[in-house]
Amino acid sequence: MDVAANPLREGLAQDRIPDECTVVIFGASGDLTKRKLLPALYSLARDRMLTRVAIVGFARRPVADDAFREQMLEGVNEHARRRPVHADLWKSFASRVHYHQGSFDNVEDYRTLKARLEQIERESGMPPNRIFYLSTPPSSFGPIVRALGAAGLVPRDGQGYARVIVEKPFGVDYRSAERLNAELHAVLDEEQIYRIDHYLGKETVQNMLVFRFANAIFEPLMNGKYVDHVQITGAEAIGVEGRGGYFEEAGILRDMVQNHLLQVLCMAAMEPPVGFDAASVRDEKTKVLRALRPLSAEDVRRHVVRGQYGAGSVLARQVPGYREEPGVNPASSTETYVALEMAIDNWRWAGVPFFLRSAKRMPKRVTEVAIHFKQAPLALFGAAHVVPNVLALRIQPDEGISLNMGSKVPGPSVAVTPVTMEFRYASSFGAEPPEAYERLLLDCMLGDTTLFTRADWVLESWRYVSRIHETWAADRRPDMPPYEAGTWGPAEADALLARTGRTWRRP
């Protein structure tokens, strides 16, 4: 099928309609499938972004097709962006939802899966375009891909396409990521691999590029000549929410910084790409990571602060300390807060420190990039009347852009006060943007890898982050300052900025 050859599709251009395909979800009885994946696929179908899509859930427990559809309908009813569910549309959508019982490590189950896919495609006249979504524990990524290869399900150039979406986390350090890349590349071409980072599916993260490169007035200021420093914050109000066991192994540096916040950093700091295609955008992002000044063990001790939350009050609710959370070692040395001072050694950003912080149990949930500009060259109205200009790109919640500047207070004397110019996404475009998973699934169907993480990016990010972990592991007595839940982190993090004569912004 070639949608582009259809003369009646011409001009219906606002819909990038992908070819018909089948999405196989490994880990289909899991939480992510019900909460995000099926609701996203349904909303896409509801918005007519899809022609026809068949879905095959794959997991261990025995479930009949109908029971699986019921479970998925529950998820869609509760979580889909497009609600209430349209009865007729659900009927025709659900008629192509199937369940295949199998174990990840049994190759025979993949052979029966293959036969099932062929049958579905034959009966519905669909082409053999297949997406395999690994919504599974990360330890299964390698084995599943190996088995897919052994069963002949992911040919590098078959009749249709075979693509694999890999959930996070991609490795736990440089070595494991390198190993996982090698395991995938043994079976798949890089073009077949879609490493997901749902942050990149967020409209406001994509808007950072539009904001920077579609406007001529900001970009000339985005460099060491005008920018004093940049602060990137990824704060969560929630704690570990019953995932204590997982978080004990991960820590905030792996959970938030290595993937999401480094992606945000790259979007904020990258050079303009030569085009808005996957290769150009991803090249520029990787270059940012390559330019990060490597951290020696001494640098880690000096420029990285970690902390762990104690009991406190968040959003008017008393909450326990990290070590009292279920599944957490009472003597845990896992960080729930991290702040880094980073340097990007390239022409544009030389001399501009990037301060990045991420934590659980902060006063509120907020992700933002704040660009702090240098002061005016002359304090014409007196030192007391200098207002720093800050351009803040808020990613969530309350997405938007604000610019702080000084303005004269009305009255006979000269007094300068900070005022804010605000642009809020929600008040300017009431339309609800698609969910991150919708955008990413659609892009995968269209074969567009721009918003997915490339192998070299993953390795570079781990190269940087693993050095921090290695130093922490070598330091036998971890310096783990506590902070009270519901505050902006330990005093040591304030000291990190104070040393340079700066303070954290209160987002």
Partner: protein, 364 residues
């Protein structure tokens, strides 16, 4: 997004003095932000992404539009300038104006964003001044849209200068009651910089549903054997639905102008198509009094197969092909949502004027 809108109004005539209108707006904003008292000061954000000039002739229509604008403020905050044309009256001035503001209350109750509305009532001679007043009231540096859902009843003299002020004309072929109106509308639209049709936007779902039938190579090849297209539609909707056939004519490059024949409620147009003569039959079905709206049926007759697309009063399309019946949900969006969409950058379809011209060929 859940939000409620609140209207702040100044019911009395504020005169034609443009400076006075702006002063009244400023006062309105001050009273809006001070409303809650100093203890609970609510900042009001005036937001304006566009000017929307609206032409309207009767009260029921005006009420429906005002309701649509309540929804509009959520997605495209705009300064709305409603021009209401009325016949001259001895007991009323030639020109009156009223202002009001629409505010969205965020779910938590805080006032977030407001946009402005001016109603200009022009009678008889007053119509001559409309364009000048509108020109002075336009917010600078944002695009200007002109919503004119139907051609004006009393000629185009007052409307033409407004067209010249606007970047985009927004019409609604779904509101046109007969093909003659469609012809008049096309003549008007010809003078606009850009035309966006709410009816055409409303057909987008149906068009992609029809297009999807021909994504596969087999059915697409069959398009080359198309000899007859039948459209049966409620009489009151024919002017809007005929665009579907016009779209096929434009996309599939049927050669015209067609030979037209008319017999009662049935019109026949003969084009030159890929397989020789291609006959289009349009049949208008009157709605039974008080009954449900008759369904629309579009039939594409090819050599070895017939594709039928049906749409009843529900926003669902049923597509019957050789392989079976498929149902596709269509967007049951409100007038406000459609106007908001029509003001956006993606609503503009450069092919639409050609499609409209094709429809007029069949209506002639």
């Amino acid at each position: 997004m859940t939000a409620t809108t609140e209207r702040l109004g100044r019911g009395e005539d504020v005169g034609v003095d443009v400076a006075a209108i702006e002063r009244e707006f400023a006062a309105l904003w001050r009273s809006a932000s001070g409303e809650a008292g100093a203890a609970d000061l609510k900042p009001v954000t005036r937001a304006c992404l566009a000017n929307l000039v609206v032409w309207c002739e009767d009260d029921a229509h005006l009420a429906a539009l005002k309701q649509a604008f309540d929804a509009l403020v959520v997605s495209v905050p705009a300064r709305v300038l409603i021009v209401k044309s009325e016949p001259a009256r001895d007991d009323a001035p030639a020109f009156e104006s009223y202002i009001s503001a629409n505010c969205i209350l965020a779910p938590g109750g805080g006032k977030l964003v407001c946009s402005e509305e001016v109603t200009l009532v022009a009678r008889g001679d007053g119509l001559r001044h409309v364009a000048a007043v509108v020109r002075a009231l336009l917010v600078a540096n944002v695009p200007t849209m002109f919503l004119l859902v139907r051609p004006p009843t009393a000629g185009t003299t007052a409307v033409t200068p407004l067209l010249g002020l606007c970047d985009r004309l927004i019409i609604d072929t779904a509101m046109l009651t007969d093909l003659r109106e469609l012809v008049r509308m096309e003549a008007l639209a010809d003078g606009a910089r850009q035309v966006v049709d709410l009816g055409w936007l409303g057909l987008a779902g149906l068009r992609s549903s029809i297009a999807s039938v021909f994504d596969h190579d087999g059915p697409r090849a069959a398009l080359g054997t198309l000899t007859q297209v039948n459209l049966v539609a409620p009489a009151a909707r024919m002017a809007g639905r005929v665009l579907l056939v016009a779209w096929l004519a434009e996309r599939l490059k049927w050669r015209g102008p067609p030979d037209n024949l008319r017999a009662g409620a049935r019109r026949t147009s003969v084009f030159s198509g890929p397989a020789g003569a291609l006959t289009v039959e349009l049949t208008a079905v009157p709605a039974p009094p008080g009954g449900a709206e008759p369904e629309t049926l579009l039939e594409l007759v090819m050599r070895d197969q017939v594709v039928r697309v049906r749409r009843g009063s529900e926003p669902v399309a049923l597509i019957e092909t050789a392989v079976g019946v498929r149902s596709m949900a269509l967007d049951p969006s409100s007038l406000g949502d459609r106007v908001a969409r029509a003001m956006g950058p993606r609503a503009f379809d450069p092919a639409f004027p050609r499609v409209l011209a094709r429809a007029v060929e069949m209506a002639a």
